[in-house]
Symmetry: C2
Subunit: 182 residues, 2 copies
DNA sequence: CCACAATATGGAGACTGTCTCCGTTTTAGC
DNA sequence: GCTAAAACGGAGACAGTCTCCATATTGTGG
C-alpha cells in the first residue's frame, strides 16, 4: 500500500470513529470524507460499503470482547454472576456506536457480510464462556452458545434502539435464569 | 373528512400494506404514492412520517395480538406451553412486514412516537398473559411484563433482521425458562 | 341546482445522501 | 529526474424525502 493511501485510510478511520460515536453508524459517509479531508471517491475505494467501514472499526472491540470473555472465566465467579458480568461487558462494547448492534445481529448469520468474521470472533469468545460453565455442569442441558449470542445481541439491539436509555440488567437476568441449571 | 380524501387515504393504506409486505417497511414512500395513483404530497399530508403509515397498518394486528393473548389464556395450557405459543404468535404478527419489529422496539419506550399507543395495546395484551400466570403462581417472583415484552420484541427483531431465516423457538425456550418458576 | 368557500390534490423541484467515473496529481523504483 | 503505476478528489448521475402552491374537487346555503 502506497504511503499516501495508508495516510488517507488512517485519516478516514479516525474520523469515522469520531463521527460514529457522535452521531451513530448511520451518519453520512460523504460527511466523514469531508471531515477527513478526502474526496468521497477515496473513502469509497477504501471502504466500498458502510459495513466495511464499521467492520474496520470493529477490530478494536473484538479484541476487547475476547479479552473480557477470558477475564470473566478467570474470575471463577459463580455462574450467574459470571454470565451477567460477561453479557454486560459484551453489550457495552457493541453499543458503543449507535446502530452497530443491529448491524451485528444482521451480519451474525450472513457469511456474505464483511463483518461476519468479526462476529465469529465474538461468537467464539461467548462460546468459551458458555462451554466453560457447561463443563462445570452449571448450565441446563441443550443450551446453544449461538442462540445465547443471538439473544444477548437482541437485548443490545433493543437497548440501542430504545429512546429511553434502558437498563439491560433485568433482561439479562431473565436470560441468565433461562440458561443456568435450575 | 371529505369523500375524495377518504378514498385516497384508503388507497394509500391498501397499497402500503402490499408494498410493505413485498419489500418491507423501508420501501420508498414516493413509490407507494405512485402505485396508489396519488401524488407524494397527498401521501405526506395523510401520513406525515413513515411511522404514521406503519402505525395505521398496525391497527390490524394490535387487534389480532390482543385476541391471541386472550386465546392463549383461555387454552388453560401449562405455563411453558402457553407462553411459547403466545410468544410465537406475537412474533409472527410483528414480523409480518420486514423492518417493523425494530420500529416497534424503538416506539415501545418513546411516548412521542405515533406508534406508542399501539405498542401499549400489545404491551397490555402481554401483561394479561403474564399477570394470569403470575396469579397462578407459575412465575418466578419479580418478573416484569414490560421487560418480557422488550425481550421478546428483541427476539423478533433479531429474527427479522437475520438473513438466514431463523427458528425463534430455541431463543423463546430460554426466555420462558427464565421466567417460569424453577 | 348552482355558486363559491373550504378542502384536497399532484407534481415540480429543493434538498440530502449514495456512489461512480475519469482527468489530474502523487508516489516509488530505476 | 523520469515514468509508469497507483491513488486522488470532486463533479455529477441517481434515488429518496418532503414542501409548496397553482389547480381541481367537494358539499353546502341560498
Amino acid at each position: 500500500m502506497r504511503a499516501d493511501a495508508r495516510r488517507n485510510y488512517d485519516k478516514i478511520l479516525a474520523t469515522a470513529r469520531i463521527v460514529f460515536t457522535e452521531r451513530g453508524t448511520d451518519s453520512s459517509l460523504d460527511e466523514i470524507a469531508k471531515r477527513a479531508g478526502v474526496g468521497p471517491g477515496t473513502l469509497y475505494r477504501h471502504f466500498p460499503t458502510r459495513e466495511a467501514l464499521v467492520d474496520a472499526l470493529m477490530q478494536d472491540w473484538t479484541d476487547r470482547v475476547s479479552a473480557d470473555a477470558d477475564a470473566a472465566i478467570a474470575t471463577g465467579q459463580p455462574a450467574r454472576e459470571m454470565l451477567l458480568g460477561w453479557f454486560e461487558h459484551f453489550i457495552d462494547h457493541i453499543t458503543l456506536h449507535r446502530g452497530a448492534a443491529s448491524k451485528i445481529c444482521a451480519a451474525m448469520d450472513d457469511p456474505a457480510s464483511p463483518m461476519y468474521r468479526k462476529c465469529r470472533v465474538m461468537g467464539d469468545a461467548n462460546r468459551r464462556v458458555i462451554d466453560h460453565l457447561d463443563a462445570e455442569g452449571e448450565l441446563r442441558p441443550g443450551v446453544d452458545a449461538a442462540n445465547v449470542m443471538r439473544l444477548v445481541s437482541g437485548v443490545a439491539s433493543v437497548a440501542d434502539t430504545s429512546h429511553a436509555d434502558l437498563d439491560v440488567r433485568p433482561m439479562l437476568e431473565v436470560v441468565v435464569d433461562g440458561i443456568v441449571r435450575a
